[in-house]
Symmetry: C2
Subunit: 479 residues, 2 copies
């Protein structure tokens, strides 16, 4: 186990330095590499395989809810970006501008899409004519660029990969329904696929998306008590449609503006997976998106029959699971710590004695529990353990989330909690963004995360200014 120990020591403990622990993991688990341009990352095969599994699962959910994929251009003319006033104000400061094509200076600057509302609107204006053309339920998987000053792999990068849904509807009700439907799809995905529980709710005016009437958010809680905006859905009303002159002939034979939504999640989810589930030995991947679900490590593999049996088990398990057999020259101890670092949910050990006894050993990544399994039960045991592991991760994450939710009834309590107990603070709010600014300034960055769908009343007054409260708000620091 010397090798094992050595590798484990190389990672900073997450309780000592969470930021360093995070960086250690993304590098040592070979998820990303840095590129020559700050904030632009190389997503390595292991990291990209996680993203591919995420994409496949989400894409299925989008198609089940009748969405179609499209591809919009990478570049947006400056004049097009400017068509919706709030939108351009929100995004212009953080876009990358293309000014030359080859050796020729362009007549008009083009920005690399930071998001594609304007492009979808330009297209929709051409293809929507009557109510029969609605709804339009489009989604795209693509890269976007937002020029960030402080960057961290997955969490905040100048380029990231994401999906952006953009839909048009006949009525405001239908668009609002879509906005909440997709929030539900996100919540289901986080819980059922990533084993990540979260708070969901509505963003305040100050925190909503540039150009939206309402923004909804899913906010998972990291191990260290910092929140992360895990995905957002936006209801636009008909604001963009008016700016872009998108009209349809309604059932009443009159002209109307459609009502619009957009919604997106990104490679930031990989950051959430790391920070919710990982431990001091490395990643722990939820089985449904793990590129390798079972790592087979042969013991005493030079002995007759061991590698043959290991290969047989691999072939057998591969019918139902993603399996890797590591028959390299590295020691079993090295392999153990390697697959722990990479967060592989189950390790399968098989050696000469096991073979004699007609069994092998399964080891859970999360609990380290060792389970001896007769070969004839292997398929069902692996399925059972992967399901249990998913449930175990979800329960642990839920316990962490719940242990990090605090109620503050007055400003002193709020300030004290913000300073000493990382997590969500539930507190009343008057509805004024001045209080959000004050809180942010006096707590080193605590912001409103969301107004939960089911509010509780902790007092009658705003925790900050004392004026009558309008809403309960979840507050917290964020990545």
């Amino acid at each position: 186990m010397a090798n094992n120990k050595k590798m484990v020591e190389a990672i900073t403990s997450r309780d000592v330095d969470f930021a360093k622990w995070y960086t250690d993991i993304v590098k040592k688990a070979e998820l990303v590499d840095y590129s020559g341009v700050k904030g632009f990352m190389v997503i390595r095969p292991y990291g990209y395989a996680i993203w591919e599994n995420i994409q496949a699962d989400m894409d299925r959910r989008f198609k089940e809810t009748d969405h179609e994929n499209v591809y919009m251009p990478l570049l947006i003319p400056e004049s097009l970006l400017q068509k919706e006033k709030d939108h351009v104000e929100g995004f212009a400061p953080e876009v990358a501008w293309v000014t030359y094509g080859g050796s020729e200076k362009l007549n008009e600057r083009l920005c690399i899409r930071p998001t594609s509302e304007t492009l979808f609107c330009e297209h929709y204006a051409k293809i929507v004519n009557t109510y029969r053309d609605l709804p339009k339920l489009y989604n795209q998987w693509c890269n976007v660029v937002r020029w960030e000053k402080t960057t961290r792999p997955f969490l905040r990068t100048s380029e990231f990969l994401w999906q952006e849904g953009h839909t048009l509807h006949e009525t405001p009700e239908q668009a609002q329904e879509e906005t909440l439907r997709m929030l539900q799809v996100y919540e289901d995905f986080y819980r059922d696929t990533l084993a990540i529980p979260a708070i969901v709710g509505q963003k305040t005016e100050k925190e909503k998306f540039a150009g939206a009437e309402a923004t909804y958010t899913i906010e998972p809680m990291m191990y260290n008590g910092v929140a992360l905006q895990g995905g957002t859905t936006h209801y636009f009303g008909d604001g963009f449609c008016k700016s872009f002159d998108i009209k349809f002939t309604g059932r009443d034979n009159k002209q109307h503006y459609p009502h619009q939504t957009s919604w997106g999640v990104s490679t930031r989810m990989l950051g959430a997976i790391i920070m919710v589930h990982g431990d001091d030995d490395g990643l722990i991947l939820p089985p449904k998106i793990a590129p390798v679900q079972v790592a087979i490590v042969p013991i005493a593999q030079h002995k007759e029959g061991v590698l043959a049996k290991a290969a047989e088990l691999k072939a057998q398990l591969s019918a139902d699971f993603r399996v890797k057999l590591d028959d390299s020259d590295n020691s079993p101890g090295w392999k153990f710590s390697q697959y722990e670092m990479k967060g592989v949910p189950l390790r399968l050990e098989v050696g000469p004695k096991d073979i004699e006894n007609g069994q092998c050993v399964l080891v859970r990544r999360d609990t380290r529990e060792k389970i001896t399994v007769p070969f004839e039960n292997l398929q069902t045991e692996v399925a059972r353990l992967l399901a249990e592991l998913h449930d175990g991760l979800l329960a642990r994450a839920k316990a962490n989330l719940e242990s990090k939710v605090f109620v503050a009834k007055n400003y002193d309590e709020f300030i004290d909690t913000a300073a000493n107990r990382p997590g969500f603070i539930r507190a009343m709010w008057c509805g004024d963004s001045a209080c959000e600014d004050k809180i942010k300034n006096e707590t080193g960055g605590v912001k409103s995360r969301c107004i939960p769908f089911e509010e509780e009343k902790h007092s009658d007054n705003c925790v900050c200014c004392g004026n009558p409260a309008k809403h309960e708000v979840y507050w917290g620091k964020q990545y």
Copy 2:
């Protein structure tokens, strides 16, 4: 059939104006829309669904040959692009330059990747240390930008989607083998999935990729006798590795440079599908990548039992095929021409009489053949007809290709063929690029397509200059 006629008349005949016919199809089959930036296209749901099917099939082939997907940054610093001399000369004139991030002017210009050799090299330099790290078999699916002056949807666009494989190997032989292996994967994919036959061979010095030692190409022939570069694979030797200082400790414990390849195909393939298979009624899609393989059109759908039966057939067929049931209010005639325009391989008609007789009618898109099929045989008949349709498309495309290959033994024959018989011209060549230039200038654009793997000798002398011939070359105009 009035409706049917009306729609068909709206398309230009391909024998009258092939370019107009092409543009009509991409618009009327709803494959693309133009965007506000010239050369940047919107790929609409139907077009993107074809691309998704192409991706899924190719990605499986790449993974079966042990390749892993990664994601490299969108932007390349100018200094990085300049590291390999031939490469920067080839690409610098056609890249888009980012000069501002938000409101700040950048210290160094960044180009949007026209291809990612330099980014892969920068990354490989960091992760390759010993022969144990080789081979590296990476691929990425992404968008790239090359600033084009004359653009046409799918065929030549300033932004396109593609895959680019980039691999490193211990020996030149292994890299050369990979270069030819991936060309074979492309050829298999074109033939077995797209039903498109092609000429394969090596590019001349003049036509090879910027920075490559050798470029191989697959060249399908369009209906009108114009060729299209359908995909290329490149052998780089160790040129880039030297420029980027990528070294590994070999089995001999000495330092070596790896040997490199790259290979790519793009959304241009959709252009080939249109121009190889389409006819005057619209698209004809090869069944394996058709978003809808069977379109069910109920006849007299207001009559009792018709829609129920159509829905039952849809449910039954959906287990094995991609099926759409069109129960809209449009007339059957309108639907017939709609699904012909969209190139759906099979139409299924079912009406009250059919139901009485326990049967339905299948209509092939390519031959218009009508086949009456008892319900109990439907599943196997659809499978059989889709397979036959694939084979039929391939045979027809092969006949077109073969009818458009001409041999020219002297320059007069060459010039006459180039002027009067669109297609490939097989003719001998001395190896001098001056002859390529001369031919191109005197024929309005005929270029060397490739040196075929199995050359035939038509004479001892170059068709252009009369000097001793080194190779047989396929010549032709290209998209």
